[in-house]
Amino acid sequence: MVVGEFTQEANLVVIGSGPGGYSAAFRAAELGVPTIIIDSRKELGGICLHAGCIPSKTLLHIAETISLGRRAAAFGVEYAEPRIDLERVRAWVSQSSDRLASGLSSRARKLGVDVVSGRATFDDGKNLSIHGGSIPRIKFRRAILAVGGRPLAHPALPFDEHIVINPWQALRLESIPTSLLVVGGGAQAVELAMIYAALGSKVTLAAESAQLLPSGDADIVRPLHRALVENLNSVLLGATIASAKVDDKAAQVSFSTKDGAREHSFDRAIVAIGQGGNTLDLGIDHTRVECDSDGFIRVDDQMRTGESRIMAVGDVTGPPWSADRALAQGRIAAEVVAGWNSAFDARAVPRVVFTDPNVAWCGLTEAQATSQRIPHRVAKIPWGSSGRAVGMNRVDGLTKLIYDPDTKIVLGIGIVGAGAAEMIGEGVLAVEMGVELDDLADTIHPHPSMCELLSDAAR
């Protein structure tokens, strides 16, 4: 340290201002802990707000609006093909993010959270250097790391930020390619495939797994699979990229699948195969924080790391990656810093894919119950029997319950279909509360509705 260099002392420093970071900072401030939040962006909100959840969900809503217009033809209402003004779509997305970011800033001001922009690196377990910020160094009593993830690159198809791009860049909609390859089979990949297909690209989705959304049950993924087959150019499962040739115009990609090898050329490729922990440039090796080989930080149920002063929350603690989990962990870390005995003991974290149809589940899946030999029984109802779904021409859905055969306690819930992302909220509450089938069955649900299928399934 340079003699005379200014060092700010802080009770709590939160690094990263995505959902994990801002929820931690705001909760800590509410509990009276003086807090500084640091982010390399000027605006609060992190990837979620500026390059992830919010832009992608906004674009998926736009995609769904387009598809609703087409579906209306079934009941005799026909619209002309939509004309998409890409400039205004982009403007709408960035307006939405900006509006939310300014909401976060005013919340920070009201709570007295200091916001510092700059890149933070650890000098040791209690000192941070801030690069490009107004304060050169911070000595902290506690730090909460909420630095998120970074997109994983595919070894055969490395990012060049031009033809081969990552999901964050893809959501900026720099252009709509005529032919697009989306690599990956997880939530991010299927959502991006659906967005670009709606905006006019001929999309090929190539996943290494035998099933899209491999951690979801096959039956609740199937309706989404059908919708993708219908809307995309092709969906390749069990497909590995054998080699790829990328020049400044196109990517020539050869796949090997169980049906043999094939080769295609694409104007653009989005690689969405998951993420690693965003811990590379953090100086983490100057601390006792432990990372695994993917850069994820090990934490206990109170979000503590191997270094007693440092905690970590959100995507940087490993999968399942989701903003809702980060929000919850952020609050817990802040409460622990404030001396509360809080812990992350959620029994159900919602897993939601905002495609059309939505796929959502929480708690135990049927596949997990089977492979872990947990005694269980399954009740499911296809939406073809729902008066509401029939009238809306949305029978492409399924509601299922996984429950304990002895106690009849609901262990998991899966829903696929229009609006499942909203409906799973009831499912999460049910699993957290440990409700029995009769609790769901005897709770009066609106009729006709899709949500009443939860209570039908429980009967």
Binding site: D294, P320, L453
Partner: protein, 430 residues
């Protein structure tokens, strides 16, 4: 061989007509592959197969009316190895990604499924939170509800029945002493560096900053202030009855501790006896009377004894004081606590009774103050009331004061004021 029966079709539909059979006998099917289409009076539904295998025999035909529970088809366990494995066997396979291990930290902080498969007693998130607040492991609490459901009352019973835990901190990595049989007397290992004196092995532990500060303050007080300690008993039976019924129901189930009332009583008495809110200034041969009342409350933490201050205590009502005490206790054990929170105290209350021990003691006056009140453990004892013996709740108190500032008569008057208020507590609410 497995029989597939027509499953529940929902919305009170018990029967339907088979529109078409979608697989033939002898055909191999995968789990979830559509088997047949059934038309009910509401809609037509594709029925998927719940298992994989070879279709051995159809028991129904197209056009037939079928009922929920009827056997539709028999499926043999015929080899289906040629089919790619569906997710059933590998539920948590990582999303397609190039060779990379994906065992991660997620299993600690992230994965939220019913984990290891051992059944967990149902308990709502609010009840689980309450258990943590009491430092109880929810899994060790016996649930009284159906299926062993743990209720709020179960947690409260476990919390009050638990032996008073000496350490305020009782979770995380260290095994829970209270829930396990005591190990064979492993003597407590003192901290510090091993050394030897002429009688045997010893350890030398360098003092922490906090320990050094406490030591210096106590030595200074003890050697400069002529202490007098007065001990007395307070009948808090009425106070206990009052606090249990207080506050009004609109404040919910908020519980007010005895301590909040005691702080209030002392703050009032200090207003009438300013010498106990003063400090002796030997250098200038003066007594400095403060015109503010800041009562400090001793809190035992893992960092040692600290005394956070409730500022302008005389301006707070009992409910305010209870809030302030909650906040201090929480803050004192957290990163939010700073040395400023312990400065400016004019009188100190220490509550060793809350730790389970102590009747009378000889508390040491903190530097800069005139007096300190130590509360012993309240207990039910036989007490003479109006000539007869009754069980009464009695709290022993010990009060040390600086004899340079006040004399015995002053102190007795002050304590009378405090004790009088605690024994006739209704006036503390005004």
């Amino acid at each position: 061989m497995k029989d597939f029966k027509l499953p529940d079709l929902g919305e009170g539909v018990h029967e339907g007509q088979i529109v078409r059979l979608m697989v033939k006998a002898g055909e191999m099917i995968r789990e979830d592959q559509p088997l047949m289409e059934v038309e009910t009076d509401k809609a037509s539904v594709e029925i998927p197969s719940p298992f994989s295998g070879t279709v051995a025999k159809w028991h129904v035909e197209e056009g037939q009316l079928v009922h929920v529970g009827d056997v539709m088809v028999t499926v043999g366990d015929g080899a289906v190895a040629a089919e790619p494995t569906q997710s059933g066997s590998k539920p948590e396979a990582p999303i397609a990604r190039p060779a990379a291990s994906s065992t991660t930290a997620g299993s600690n902080g992230g994965v939220a499924v019913a984990a290891t498969g051992n059944r967990r007693a149902p308990a709502s998130p609010a009840v689980r939170k309450l258990a943590r607040k009491h430092n109880l492991d929810i899994e060790t609490i016996q649930g009284s509800g159906p299926n062993g459901r743990i209720t709020r009352a179960d947690v409260e019973a476990a919390a009050s029945g638990a032996a008073p835990s000496p350490a305020p901190r009782a979770r995380s990595a260290a095994p829970q002493a209270s829930t396990r049989p005591a190990p064979m007397a492993p003597a407590v290992e003192p901290p510090g560096e091993d050394d030897q004196d002429k009688w045997g092995p010893i350890r030398r532990q360098k003092n922490s900053r906090a320990r050094s500060t406490i030591a210096a303050n106590m030595a200074q007080s003890w050697s400069t202030i002529p202490h007098v300690t007065d001990s007395d008993d307070v009948d808090v039976t009425e106070l206990d009855r009052l606090r249990r019924g207080y506050p009004a129901p609109e404040n919910g189930d908020r519980k007010i501790t005895m301590l909040a009332f005691i702080v209030r009583a002392v703050a009032r008495a200090l207003g009438s006896h300013p010498e106990f809110n003063a400090v002796f200034d030997a250098e200038n041969d003066q007594i400095v009377y403060r015109r503010y009342i800041n009562i400090a409350v001793a809190v035992h933490t893992e960092r040692g004894l600290i005394t956070p201050v409730i500022r302008n205590t005389d301006q707070l009502n009992v409910l305010d004081i209870a809030d302030a005490l909650d906040e201090l206790a929480q803050k004192a054990r957290s990163a939010a606590f700073t040395v400023n929170d312990t400065r400016g105290g004019t009188y100190t209350i220490s509550n060793p009774g809350a730790l389970g021990g102590s009747r009378y003691s000889t508390p040491i006056i903190p530097p800069g103050q005139c007096a300190v009140l130590a509360l012993g453990r309240t207990r039910l004892i036989p007490w003479v009331v109006n000539g007869s013996i009754e069980p009464r709740l009695i709290m022993p108190v010990s009060h040390s004061f600086d004899h340079r500032i006040a004399d015995g008569g002053d102190e007795i008057a002050f304590m009378k004021h405090v004790i009088g208020a605690l024994e006739n507590p209704a006036r503390l609410l005004l």
